[in-house]
Subunit: 238 residues, 2 copies
């Protein structure tokens, strides 16, 4: 199995190949939050890139999660905190979801043969799924306005480690090697490693530091969210 | 002084600001080779992005260095090895130069307030120049077909270390932090660190591994190449 990493959505065209299994990652916080809402019983996520589209869904009666610049949008039911999406609120419902970077990364990767959502919370389930189904994996990091970030990059290294533990893995590029090296630095204390990162600072400034702990906790859910190209919804593979 | 790094030419638009001092880096080998030819007495470098343009200069009587895919182009006087550009061949001459990634990175950064060429060979001279002249620095990594590479990234970390030794430096982004962390890993043995990198493999496959040693040697020349936006030539600041 080949594992590669596109460190920014803007670089994805230079890393993609046909027949890839693409894993969209936005550790702080969109991909972690999507895993959480499906774990808590949401039947599907409808990712949308634009705020106006999310507002139309809202007026049609959908539950809507919407975040821009680390804050919940006023019109929405939820923001981008994984704790917003309790079983009481989302079980049995479809949730429309738009965030600054995460849903844009999904749009970028939407034509991949298979598109999955990854986070530390589902890293074990994701690894097992990939070992069974994937030949070449590209971790598509959401980054921040197309800039690379530390948290998505180290996730790539963590996934590489999980996959390596289960079989033969070929490192696809220098980008994947960067991720591997940074994860070796980070794994003993990911939170400490990220204290100086750009987005951790943004979370602190917006009172969301509690989310960061959850976003860096491994194996809290056992699901693999899969994007369906036909109806453009994300559902759980069980 | 703020120091930032654009890990790929495709990401430069997301890192650039007005009034930047931009440093184009293509460690294996274009930026090292440019430093070498100016050190050896070439009066100017005329960077061109396209092979056809280089051929026109050649038929007009210019000396031409041209490389694609790690190999010297047949029509050219030189390839991309720093050892091609001896004082006997280049002193007092202008040299037209085109390479797979390096000259394209120059084109990307050509509108910066100031554009410099950086390599390990001139890192000391470059640091001193920046401390005197720059407020915000962006290291523009040439990469490989817009993919990031290890050697350009660690150079960013090495430059950051040199600048930090001389005064207060602010790290501009997670990308700069990645470079800093990787340089800490690499600095004891940069060649060993890069043995597994993508482009080192390409150099070996093309018999150019001897160049790699030179490209990773610090402070072998004392010049700062500066791109002149008016006549689009690169000359030495002495």
């Amino acid at each position: 199995m080949i594992v590669d990493i596109a460190p920014s959505p803007a670089l994805y065209p230079y890393y993609r190949q046909d027949n890839d299994t693409v894993i969209v990652v936005d550790i702080f916080r969109a991909s972690t939050t999507m895993c959480r809402m499906l774990h808590n019983g949401a039947t599907a996520i409808i990712p949308v890139a634009e705020i106006e589209e999310a507002k139309r869904f809202k007026s049609d009666g959908y539950l809507v999660g919407a975040e821009r610049h680390t804050r919940k949008c006023d019109f929405a039911d939820f923001g981008n905190s994984p704790f917003d999406y309790t079983p009481e609120r989302v079980a049995g419902r479809e949730v429309v979801f738009t965030t600054t970077n995460g849903t844009m990364a999904i749009r970028e990767g939407a034509n991949a043969q298979e598109l999955l959502i990854g986070s530390f919370s589902n890293i074990g389930a994701l690894s097992r799924y990939c070992i069974e189904h994937a030949e070449r994996i590209v971790v598509l990091c959401a980054g921040w306005n197309n800039r690379i970030n530390l948290e998505d990059t180290i996730f790539g290294g963590a996934l590489l480690e999980r996959l390596s533990a289960c079989g033969k893995v070929t490192i696809g590029s220098d980008a994947a090697r960067v991720a591997q090296l940074l994860w070796l630095e980070a794994k003993a204390d990911p939170m400490g490693f990220l204290m100086e990162s750009e987005h951790y600072g943004r979370l602190i400034a917006n009172g969301a530091e509690g989310d960061a702990t959850y976003c860096l906790s491994s194996d809290t859910v056992e699901i693999v969210p899969i994007y369906n190209r036909m109806d453009k919804k994300i559902r759980v593979s069980r």
